[in-house]
Symmetry: C2
Subunit: 206 residues, 2 copies
Amino acid sequence: MNRQGILIVVSGFSGSGKGTIMKELLRRYDNYALSVSATTRQPREGEVEGREYFFKTREEFEKMIAKEELIEYARYVNHYYGTPRAYVEEQLAVGKDVILEIELQGALKIRDRFPDALLLFVTPPSAKELKRRLVSRGTETAEVIEQRMRRAVEESEGMESYDYYVVNDVLDTCVEDVHRIICAEHGRSMRNREFAEQIKRELKGE
Amino acid sequence: MNRQGILIVVSGFSGSGKGTIMKELLRRYDNYALSVSATTRQPREGEVEGREYFFKTREEFEKMIAKEELIEYARYVNHYYGTPRAYVEEQLAVGKDVILEIELQGALKIRDRFPDALLLFVTPPSAKELKRRLVSRGTETAEVIEQRMRRAVEESEGMESYDYYVVNDVLDTCVEDVHRIICAEHGRSMRNREFAEQIKRELKGE
């Protein structure tokens, strides 16, 4: 079968640990490439250009939109965030599975434009555990915690749009689960139409 | 997430080695149950009642049809073959992944009646290799080989109806591939609707 790269969207609750899972996945296996988003927001302490984000001015970003250099973009709190097309296409072409860590809104746009994209949603084992993680993250005020809970409710609304749920209980198990899902997906018939057609042609002696 | 059993249909080219794969899968892992078909054909040398088949008279079989005791059945060369319902339902209920080794016709009926069933198609790595296996199986006449090739063409026609292709090149790898696909499928969102609903309810504090 062919080994074309899969475009993978990873979303999940804030506090689900998806960032750590992705980092670990890339460390363990060499079939992955992590897409780096472009944004117009200011770099935070410790963020490096081209690692966390490509930092753009608003003008630069809008030029990218106009030239269709982004496969999806969105605005949150007055800032643009988007996925540069070139890197994604290059990596898919050389057979890498390209991971986009984006939110529901972007995930749905990707599904629209790339019907073969694989959408994963990372979640703690239960809402109770999610609440525990959101509360025990630091010394936040009741108000901040309340805000996070509302956000979690919003994030949960789109769960059905994803292909798989990945439960992050034990990190190591979770990383292997994600890897297993992606490896298995390479065998999907819809990703191997050419393989099937070739077998049919050869069997008929064409 | 819940751990409900998955109904799995395994088909594939004659000579793809699917029987051996299933046997090995059951030997290695204890989450599987292999469904045993009922048939009206005569037992062959070495076949054991309840292991290869449940051997039925035509009258018995037609009674099973009438009482809806089969989840699918078909006629080949004047004999009935079918899948008894009771065993499949029992095993799914206790969380086993139940494997049916049946052909396209039956596979499509299963898909119709059990939309969540998982359909796997086992294939050699290429048509060339399939031909090699069909030819080198024994000392068959050109006519028998020709007949097998025609059968393979027929079998290939339904390939698109399956969810995954499993390439049987090295047996050990292939068994692990099948196991990986099935494990991964347990995380599919459509198999975990209740899990998602529960998280949503709990987040909303219902």
